[in-house]
Structures are given as structure tokens and as C-alpha cells.
Amino acid sequence: MNRPTGYTDRLSVRPADTLRFMIGLEAPARYDVEIVRVQCGDINPEGPGLRYTRLDTPVNGTYDGLVQHSHIGSWASLPLAESTLAGATGLATAVWPTLVSGRDQCLLEVGADGVWLRLVLDGAGTWRLHLAEGERLLLDVSLAAPAVLREWRLVGVMIDPAGQLGLFACDLSGAGEERTAPAPADLLRRVCGADRLALAAAGARTAGRRERHFNGKVERPMVLHGRVSHRHVVELFRQPAEIAAASPVVAGLWDFACNPAGRRVAGLGAARAGELHNLPTRGMTGVSWDGRCADWREGPAQYGAIHFHEDDIADIGWQQSFALTIPENWSSGLYAARLTCGAAEDFVPFFVRPPTGKAANRVAVLASTFTYIAYANERGVAYLRGCELLIGRLRHLSPLEVYLYDHPEYGLSLYDTHRDGSYVAYSSRLRPMVNQRPKAQTWTAPPPSMVRWLNQDTHLLHWLETQGFDYDILTDEDLHAEGAGLIAPYSVVITSSHPEYFSAAMLDAFAAYKAAGGRLMYLGGNGACWRTDTHDEWPGAIEVRRSMNYTARAHPGELHHVFSGERGGFWSSLGRPEQETFGVGFVSEGFDSCGHFVRAPASFEPRVAFIFDGIEAHEPIGDFGFSGGGAAGVEIDATLGQAPHGALLLAVSTGLSDNYYLGADDVEHAQLRTPSLNPSLRAEMLYFETPNDGAVFAASSIAWSTSLNWNGGDNNVSRLTANVLRHFLRGGPGV
């Protein structure tokens, strides 16, 4: 099957905006496009089923499909002042390699006029110096000692244009090895005509492409004048960058410690400002890091390293296939380009928000685009150790996950580790996010539907539409960029099933909305959990550094985001617990089956009678559903002693299996890590009032929304949710 897929340049657009689509196939072929409005993406035959409405647009039609080239792997382009390399020259850098991959990895490349000099870590872990003319290898010098992984070394190249090349590697005492070999002087002179170095990748035969990406940390590449001893090179690395740059033997150097957020790296002397490609990890501990500093802002000199990976992606760089100008008369909602090629089908989703400054409806649904980006192309089913224990059933690959497994070039999620085992700190939407679309099933979603994230959230959209509630859709990115003013006009804001990734600006926006009388329906679990940041120079990307998690945990010295300078981690560990926003916070997760809710005593208080209108006192709530057979589960929240003043505990979960495990550290008897041993591991449905006639309802369970449409929407999860929504619409802002 020749599956088409793709992505858009944005996830959130307004009427009259033009949206660009980048579409690729596995083999050249014609494919068809139609634009659709999506109502439900869950293909479970027992549920609402796949539902969308075809729209007539100018882009509907048949196209010639390409096999797009995926730009994956980070690298740096480091320009030099004119004629810097003329004369006897050395290139040296500190390096902390992380992978012997079976393939050549190019640490440093310099060349001009068809001649290339490359410092390579070969497939067996040996440092080599290659001189090549075009694709023809002319000289291959290697060191005898293998490279040492995850230890700092200095490596370098000595170029004597009179006809000699040298390769060296030494440790931080200067002890090491050097090899020299004669080389054609005319070729070396051509190499020395180069006006830039490439760091962490080699040029490919096709212009504009890169290959042989390097995996590991690199610090302070330097261009040296004349012949310099190993010990002298070591001394230069021990000096502050400005002092080293002033040395008469240093022509120039790049200081990666400066301004680590952006695309540029600072050059000193003859080294000009360089440019980073595909988002290597910055703010990384370097040669001089000694554990006395845990924040790159306080001790930037200790954070002079950049970690390059062969599987970094900021922008996969596909060519545009078509562009759609959003019609003025489209209502806000979830849309997609439906792509078909024979029997293969894909949906490339996007959200249409209302026109600027206009709330078209009184209900806003906040699509968790930061969560979708964080989980984009999540591959734990293949890579994560212990994942069968995590989910309490066999690892399951949906057809889409098999496709993803066959396409590593679509990159990683924030839950994966890089090929070299290091943590993933960034995820970008400028690539096919093939698990964030209608029809997607995923291994951590309980049977039968196995839906999470964007596709699960179509259950909410289907329910709103079939129950007759009009809504606008906004996204995390919109709220992050525009703040409280974006949601201020709405009487009710409804969250998605898993609004997990929050920036400080989003927390502030919710706080302001609630203080102004806004009414919030938190129809999910594990919300407002991880600090998330963006950066203008890396559009589409988010940064998350985790202090704790079952996977992808950041080095303890590297927890400060470079995008913002702020410390990463659980918001609860940063002093703004989830309870501040939703009244509840993450307590447990399990992925095999779900339980249901039973009413708690406070649910019978008159002021919450509206919530339970039509629901009996002892009626199980949500003992059905398309996720694990219940409305309570997957990831669940509790007050954990931090409930807001006056909050009422409405209902608690029961029936969770012991494959749910403790996810919070502030739980009583935390040694007892499963629900049958520890009653604190439960979902707590909560209600509380906020100033100015505001209120918050928290379902506290990811699985809640996958029960809404059970039995055609005639069920007590649907009834309870509608009771809350109708009541909230009777007051609040926007009336």
C-alpha cells in the first residue's frame, strides 16, 4: 500500500488565512485530495464511527505525488572570515560522542571546489580523517585507539598546505595520539579555500541535503594558526572563550554557551556567527561542568555544549503540494485534508478558529495542540523497556504504528529516546504527526477503541454536535500566544481529554479567566502537568525537560529550558500544581482497562444538584465506554489534599486494575503503589466555585470523553456532562 501523508505549516488557522500542505508518498503516484470537516475519527464499529463532511474547495482534486526528502538530523553551518584557512591551520573541538552506529558519522567537514576533508567517527568507533574529491576517497588516516563514548575528548585536524595532514585525539590531560600522512598540496590548498565548516553532518550528493549526521555533544570548535601541541589545545579549552579567542594561535572559535535559545551560535575572531539546523539540544553540560551549577543562566561557561542527533527534526522540509485559503463562511472546528491513493488513506488535520477577535459561540473547546506535538510519532511500543508491564497487556501495534515503525525519518516524540539513548527535549509539528489524526489508534489507549489525543478528542466534538451545543475551537498555541484575552469572551471553556502540556502563559490565562467569572470544564486527566515552552526562531517546536518520568528524563544539570530560561519539569514541582488550575492533579495511570465513578456524599449537596439531575443516588456513572469499558481511567487525577477552598468531591472511581500505578509523589503511603493497596489511587470528580460567578467542573479522567457517545449518547456520562454545560451556559462571561 502506498500511503500518502503530510502536514501543514500551521495547526490553527482563521478564515481568510492561507494554509500550506506538504504531502508525500512512499512511491511516486497520483493521489486524491478532498477537504473535510471532521466530526468523529474513531473507527470502532461499535461507536459513532468515522464521520466527516466533504467540502467543496479549490484544492480538491488529483495530484502527482512525490516521495519527499525528509530532512532529519541536526547540524551546524559555521562560516569563516575570508582566507581564514590559508596558511598552516588546525581545527579542533571538544567532543563527547554517544553512539557507534555501524555507519560513518561526520563530526567536522571542510571543503571547497569539490574537495572535502572530513573528520569522521566510523561505523566501528574509530576516528578517521578522510580527504575526498567528489565521492572518491583519496586519503584515509585513522587513529589506533577507539573513541570513548560519553567522555570528553579533544579531537582535531592539522592541515599543512605544503602537503601534510594530521589527525589527533587526546584527553583533558593532553595525553593522546596523533597520526600524520602526506597529502597532495594542490588538494589541500583547495580545501583551505573553504569559507565555512559544517559541524555534525556531511554534505550529500544532492545539493541542500545532509547525511552522515553525528551523535554526541560538541563544544567550542576552534580554528588554529600554525601547529599547536595537544597540551596547548587543552589549555585553550580550559580558558574562558574570550581569553582563548585572544590567543595568538587561535584564528577564531564558536562559543555555544552564548544565547542558547536560538538558531545562531556566536563566533569570535575569524569565526562568524553560525547557524543551527534541525534543533540540536542546547544548554548542555560541557567540558567544565562540575555539578556546582544546575542552571545555564548562572554558569553559562559550564553549558558550552550542543548535543547533535541524527534523529533531530525542527522542520522536515517537504515541498509544498497545495495551499488552501480558508473560506470566510467556515465555522470553527476540526478539518482535514483527506488523502487517498488506491486503498490507502490519511487525514492531515487542522483547526479553524473563529475570525480575529470574534467569538462565534459561547463555548470554546481548547484543542491540546501542545499535547499532540509532545506525543507526535510516539514510538514507545517499539523502544520503551518494560512497556508490557506499563500497559498490562501485550504491546499492540495498529496499522498506523506499523507504518510509523517503518518510517523512522518522521522523527521522535517527547516520550522517546534518541538513537544514542539520550533524552528528547524538543518536538516539532513541521513533519507528519502520523498518530495525531482521525483513524489513529495507539498502544497506550485501552481497547476496544484504542484512541488517544487528537483522535480521542473527536469524541467530544461528536458529542457536542449531536447534543446540539455549538462551539468554537481554539488551540494551545493560540492561548499561549494570545493569553487570557483569547478565552475571555466565552461563557464556558472545555478542555480536551489530555491537556498535559502547559506554558506559564497558559496557566496565567486560565487563572485570569477563572478570576473573571469564567466557567471551566476539565473533561480530561493529567492536565497542566509539564512546563512547556516555545521559541520564535523555532516555529512549530516545543521544549520540555523532564525531571522525572518513566522515559526521556533530562540530565539533572540540564533541566532549564533554553527557550525560556525557566526550569523544566512537573508544574507541581515548580510551585504551580495542577490543582491551582483544575482543582485536581495527576495521581495514577493505567492502560489496560477502566473503572467507573460512584457518587460521593458531597454530591448530594443542594448546590450541585444540577449536576446529578436525572442520575440516581447509587447509579454507577460511566460503567461503559470505548476506552477500557469505563469512564474512569487511563490517566486520572485527585485533589491530593490540595483542593481549592469550598470544593466538593462529587464522585470517585472504582474498579481500577492493579496495572494502574502511582504517578504522584505526594500521596499518603506512597510505598503502596496500586489501587487495591492504596485507596488514594483513584479519580476524584470535583466541583468548585470561583470569584465573579465562575466555576470549575473536573472529570479527572482521560477516559471520560470516550464514554460520552456510548449508546448513541444516551447514558449518564453524557447526561452529567450536559447538565454541567447547560448550567454553566446560564451564567458566566459572554452572556
Partner: protein, 103 residues
């Protein structure tokens, strides 16, 4: 009991039928304990379930030890998640106890 190599079948035999009836979901403490042993990486055989046709057809596969190497999919087809879970349980029981369970 040596958890690295084998288990005493007499301890766990009573929960085999519980698993066969309901392989996914809440289990008795003893069955939960047995499944923790079976599902640990050192014992689980790198099994995965590959969905060939959603809600209809599955096959068992083994993950290769090398990252991104092709999946090894077995020829047998299953009509439910539960049937495949039972097949893998039987294989793991045999590996841990030396005993065969009926299909």
C-alpha cells in the same frame, strides 16, 4: 522460586483459568503477580500484537533486538486480542514451568 528462570507451577496453577476467561483487566493478586513475572522484559520474549485489520485480525510478532530492524510477524492469525493473549500466556507458562497448556 527463582524468578530469573522458572516458577513453581503449583503456586500459580489456580489462576490459569482466571486469565483464560479474562486476560485483560482486573485480576486477583496471585494472577497479577504471575503476569508481572511473565511481562518483565527478561521473560516476555519481545512479543507484540500486530493489528492487520482493525477490530478483526491480529498476528503475533517479535521485536528485533536492533532498533528499527524489520518486525518478525508470525503466520498465525487471531480474531481477538484475548485469543492472542492466551497464546502468549501458554508460551510463557511453558517457558517458566516446562508444562504445556491446552490451546
Amino acid at each position: 522460586m527463582n524468578q530469573n528462570e522458572s516458577i513453581d507451577p503449583a503456586v500459580y496453577r489456580g489462576c490459569i483459568e482466571e486469565f483464560r476467561r479474562r486476560p485483560i483487566g482486573r485480576h486477583s493478586p496471585l494472577l497479577h503477580h504471575l503476569l508481572l513475572i511473565m511481562r518483565a522484559d527478561r521473560h516476555n520474549g519481545r512479543y507484540a500484537l500486530v493489528c492487520l485489520e482493525p477490530f478483526k485480525t491480529w498476528a503475533l510478532a517479535r521485536f528485533p533486538s536492533e532498533r528499527d530492524a524489520p518486525l518478525e510477524i508470525e503466520p498465525t492469525r487471531f480474531g481477538s486480542l484475548e485469543a492472542a493473549e492466551w497464546e502468549v500466556f501458554r508460551r510463557r507458562w511453558r517457558r517458566l514451568t516446562g508444562e504445556d497448556l491446552p490451546a
